[in-house]
Every structure is written in C-alpha cells, then in structure tokens.
Symmetry: C2
Subunit: 406 residues, 2 copies
C-alpha cells in the first residue's frame, strides 16, 4: 500500500464544520488508494487558551506540567475528527503522540523527536484504517508527555512520513509557497516546486510557511513535502530535491524580515579580543546574531555592525552596557528602522552575476543598503524600513517573480 | 512512610481559585507526614462540555473516541493542580491514568479496573513528591485510553488506596454521610461512622454520595474511606468495617429513590413460565427490576407488581407490549407517582422487630405502602409520591435519625 501523511493546522480544523470539510478531503485521498495518516494540531486557538489557564496559576508554570496541559489540545482534535470519520462509516482510529510511538528527548516545551516506532501506525494502516495522530507531542524516555515547540505539528507529520518513506502534505491557510510575500508584492508567482535548500533558506530568512526543522528532516530523508490550502483545491507547492525541479531560474524567492535591529559600534579599538568577546557575550545571552560586517575606520580602530532579532533587544542592551564599561570610547548606534530583504535561489551556485544584477537594481532604484551578507544560495540586504516595498517591487520585477499573465 | 489518597471531585476544583484552596489542604496533609496521592476529576462541568462537542459531531459518537476525548478533562485538572503545588515550591508530579499504572478492561466509557501497577506512584512518593493522578481513566490491554463510567474518580481513588493499603479520603460537596437526606429531613444526623455494608445498601437504594462499586472495593481490601467537604474543615464520615463502629443503632440511615415506576399486572394466568419469561425479557432489555411482589388473586390467576427505574420506561413498554400480544387478558397498571423509601441498618441482623416498628410508624401516620421488600440489613417501601416527606419525618423521628441538640 502507498502511504501518505496529511497534516492540518489549527485554523483548518477550528470548528466541527471545518473538520467535516477536512474529513471529505481525507476520505477522497483514501479512495485514491492511499493508506492515510492524518496529523492534527489543536483546534483554532485552543493551545493559547490552555496557556492562559496556566498563566492564571503562575507567571512561570512548570514546563513538564505545561506539556501535560497543552497536549490535551491535540487529543481533543484527533478524537473529534475520528468520530467524524467513523460517523461516515470510515474505519479510523486516533492515536496520541505516545500511542503513535513518537519518542522524544530534550527540554519540556521544546522536545526533539528521537525516533518513531511506527508499528502501531502501520498495524492500523494495514487494517485499512485511517490513522489520526496528535501532532506536536510525544513521550520521552521517562514516560512523560512532551511537546515539540514551534512548528511541532509539521515536525510530527514530516517525521512520520520520513519513517514511512512517503509524501507529506501540509494543509494550511496559505495555498502554497510564493516567490515573494503576496501581501507586499501582489502579483507574486506561486511556485510549483522549491528545493529543500531554498525553502530552508527562505524559512530562516523570515518566510513563515514552514519551520526550517521540518524541511531539514524532509531533506535528510528525501521525503517530498506538498504545501497547499485546506480550504481550496488549488494546486500548491512541492518542496523537493533541487534536481527534480523543472523551473530553473536565477532567483526562486524573496523574503523579508521586519523585526530586525541593526547595531553599529564605532571607534572600536582594533584588538581581536574585543569583537570576539562581544559576540561570545551575545551568544551566551541567547541573542541570535544574524548579519555581521566589520570595516576599518582608521589604523587602530574598526567599525562593527550586526543585526539581530528585535525581540532580543533587552539582552543586547545588557551586553552592550558591559562592553561600554570596559571600553568607554565606543560609540553605539541602534537602528530599528531597518528591514532585511533576502533573495534565494539554488541557481546562484552555478550562475555568476546575481549579486551584480542585484546591486544594479538597487542602485537604479536609489535604494541604499546598509549591510550585505551572502550564503551559497542567498544574498541579504539591510535597508531602511521605508524603502521596503519599493525594493521588493524592483527586485521582484527584475527577477520575474510575478505571474506573467497578470 | 504512611500513604494517604485524597480525592477531589469536579465541583471542588471548578476554578483555579478552588484548586488553590484544595492545594492548601493537600500541603497540610503532607506536613502531617503523609505520602500524599491526590486523585482529581475534571474541573466543574468540563466532561459535559466535551460530551456536547461530541454530540455536535454525531448522535452516537464512537465510544473509543469519546474516551479519548473526555479523558482530557482530568489531564487538564492534574496539570494545573500540579503547577499550583510547584509554584508554592512543593515537589509534585502529575500522572495520567495510564502513567499511574491503572490497567482496565471492559467496554469503552464503562471500563473496570483490572489492576494497578503502583510502582510509578510509589517511586514519586518515595522521592517526597505529591503525586497527582487523573481519576476516572486508565488504559486497556490494547493501549487505548479508557474511562471508568459513573463514579469513576472515586473508583480510581479507592483502588489506588487498596493497592497502597492506606486510607482514602473523598472530598466532595457534601460534608459527610447523613442518616437521611438533609434536603428533606432538615435535622438529619451526620454519621461519624457507617459500615461498608450499610453504605453499599444506602448507595444502591439511592443515596448519591458514593457509587456502590468504590465501597465494594474498599470493603474487599479493608480500606477505610473518609467522606468530607472540600470547602469546610468540619468532621466527615468514616466508611469502615462494622465492628469498628461505636454507635450501634437499629437504623443507620434512610434513603429515598424518586425516579421509580411501579408496574402492576392483574389477571395473570397462574403459569410459572409467564412471569419467568416477563422478567427474563426485562433483563435482556437491560431493565433493572428492583422490587417484586406476587400474590394470588384467584385460584387460576395472580397479580404481579414490580418497580424499576423511570429511565427504563421505553424498554419496559416494549416488553409489556409483547406480553400483551401473547396474553391479551392481562390488565396493566403503570404508576410513576411513587417513591421508594428504604431504611438501612446493620443491627437489623441481630435485632428483631424493626419491620414491625416500621409498619406501626407508617400505619400510625396513615401512610399506605404498596410494595415491601427486605434484605438482610434493609427494608424498602413503595409509597405515593405525595406522602414522601411525611413518611421521612415519621421514620426519622421514630428511629432518632435527627440531631439531638437541634
């Protein structure tokens, strides 16, 4: 039997009515001959409601007990969804993360999947049952219920698909992966295919469709992911190996990070340990430094700039205060009126001139950029917030990221 | 270490605030030197809310999936309650029924406890943790989540106490066992002790404090149960072995069943098989027949009366219709304007004249009774609904069931 994993997020199953619609799609897939595993999140905003309850108890609730609490959200989803299937005379069974054999490790609220013993899942699949698994959760070696943190249900789905060696379909409230955010660039092109590497890069760079960790698992195990809307039957996007892709273009996509702060340090004494200590301290305070640039300002001094998430501002300030205590001459400029625009494309590996073309586009449109960093398949620019839309339009047009028939 | 099991029902933990109050009581018990196991129901009306969700899906939801659904109610309780304890720096851990080792068998929604592997509970107790167990639930041999039906959380608590060989305290919204229902007989006496057998009889006869099944387990394993209010510190009632009881009186308690229907069949041919078939058919239709009385009306005919729960009316009617088809001469009288008043007392075994005294009390108060049945330690009367309060007052006064100092 060909297996398939279909994952539906909280907004796709927020009411019984939504679930009824999703059930039809799942039954259709079974009729096509697949052994279907359904992975569900908690309904709508259930998880947040449960977290609010915990916050009524105490500001910092026990993490183990929070896992015990919020894991009930998916358990409610899977039982109701399985009732719907059985009320339509479809053989089906619900399994909690633990019953589905999802073994995890790590710290509560943020566990990682260690392994999946799929014997219970495959037993039910071979009995021609639709298997409805609670996403986002598992059980650790001590037998405690655990949850998988952000994007956890996607991770559950892709990991099950990896063990079953089958495709994984992620149904969500967007209908695929776009070359650029359609809310900003209206005519943005929906991609039929995107490579694992491009998708990971896009995800790291701020695209919100999927967390990088699920794509990483899919990549490692060579599992194809299909991202599509749970509400329409429109074709979605395959995330797959680059060589499978038919469309080869310079740039596959463009992503934008809004919540960025750029820090510039001037008049830093040109001693290796000062800059090294700075980034060590930032790392120890769990500040995720993104772009870094350093340039000499004179023989004995350098200027250092870096960007980080705006959420880390408190920790950044703590680290910088210590730096100032030891080096009172350093001048610090914080700029939170910046965004990071990144362009991603696997073809950059083999095609030269992408960076050059981008510089030209930006200069022709008088878009000044502050920092630039590059990876093997991406280039990121920090630009002023007010130039964001203009930059996106210019880049998207130059690299044909829009629909040709619009 | 001396262990103790403390069980709190849904109304005792209906809000976080209620839970906070319960937590204080639990912590106090630990300070007294006990290893404390707390067994919790679902908060307030959670279980009914979850069942309503299932009814939105279908009139007859899958029972396995209903167990999966409603078991989340206790899981929410135990996690929040454990958070409260830990926020007060008390070592504590929550365990689902399955994690607590509660192994069950039978049909979903109505499982029975097969055994409890208490090794996980005792491990945590010996680590000086308060162990907070989800009542009402367990896991069957197939690894499915199950629930224990009516009174299930009491059953969980008593069964754990039985395995740990310790006392079991049941905290509820009444503050003990009364000799008669205080809502009807205002000055009813609260009992300090009641025997297992009396309590079982009272429960079977309609007293709503505890289900007979938990008392049966406590009796078998010689575990003392203490029933008290979760809201006050007033002394409650011990359910224990008869010989431990200090108060020996003729009648310990009086209980009333309201939802009774009395059926009288007149002109039944005096053939053994007709009556036998009737009760066989009632049993096959899961009608729980309670009192039965038969008397000859002439040489060839008898009158038969019986009572059953008013909930079973539909099934009773079906059975009687079949009876009429084969025996068209039988006259059927249904009376749902009756109640059953039962008096219970272990001392009846050894003291004669209780029945006689009761007959006298009823006749002096002109209370006509319709059916009478007796067990070793109880006597039950069916009387007209409108005589209910009068009968209770008369019996309670005659047998000193009221507080002497009122």
């Amino acid at each position: 039997m060909n297996y398939i994993v279909m994952k539906f997020g909280g907004s796709s199953i927020q009411t019984i009515l939504h679930m009824q619609r999703v059930a039809e799609r799942v039954i259709q897939k079974q009729k096509e001959g697949y052994g279907v595993v359904v992975v569900l999140s908690a309904m709508g905003s259930t998880t947040n409601q449960l977290l609010d309850l915990a916050k009524q108890v105490t500001k910092y609730p026990s993490k183990r007990e929070t896992d015990m609490l919020i894991s009930t959200g998916e358990q409610v989803s899977i039982s109701l969804f399985t009732m719907i299937l059985k009320a339509r005379d479809i053989e089906a069974v619900s399994l909690t993360g633990s019953q589905a054999g999802i073994k995890t490790f790590g710290s509560h609220l943020n566990n990682k999947i260690n392994d999946i013993d799929t014997s219970n899942i495959t037993k039910h699949l071979n009995d021609h049952q639709i298997v409805v698994v609670a996403g986002f959760q598992g059980m650790n070696e001590q037998g405690d219920i655990t949850t998988l943190g952000r994007g956890g249900s996607d991770t559950s789905a892709v990991a099950i698909a990896a063990k079953l060696q089958c495709d994984c379909e992620i149904y969500t409230d967007v209908d695929g992966i776009y070359a650029a955010d359609p809310r900003i660039f209206k005519t943005a092109k929906k991609l039929s295919y995107i490579s694992y590497e491009e998708m990971k890069e896009m995800a790291f760079l701020g695209a919100k469709v999927m967390e990088p960790r699920s794509i990483e698992i899919a990549h490692q195990h060579q599992i194809r992911i299909y991202v599509a809307s749970s509400m329409t039957m429109e074709k979605g996007t395959y995330i797959t190996e680059g060589k499978e892709m038919i469309e080869k273009q310079t740039i596959t996509g463009l992503s934008v990070s809004d919540k960025v702060v750029m820090v510039t340090l001037k008049h830093v004494a040109n001693q290796l340990n000062i800059v090294a200590d700075l980034f060590m301290n930032l790392a120890e305070n769990e500040v995720n430094v993104d772009m870094i640039s350093q340039s000499p300002s004179s023989k004995d001094f350098v200027n250092v700039s870096f960007t980080a998430g705006a959420n880390d501002l408190t920790q950044i300030n703590e680290v910088l205060e210590k730096l100032l205590q030891n080096n009172p001459d350093i001048e610090i400029i914080m700029d939170n009126q910046v965004v990071k625009v990144s362009v991603v494309g696997q073809a950059m590996r083999h095609q030269s001139g992408v960076a050059a073309k981008l510089f030209k586009v930006l200069s022709e449109n008088q878009i000044e950029f502050k920092l630039v960093t590059t990876s093997e398949i991406s280039i990121s620019y920090t630009i002023s917030k007010k130039l964001k839309e203009q930059a996106i339009q210019a880049i998207a047009n130059a690299f044909d990221l829009g629909e040709t028939n619009v």
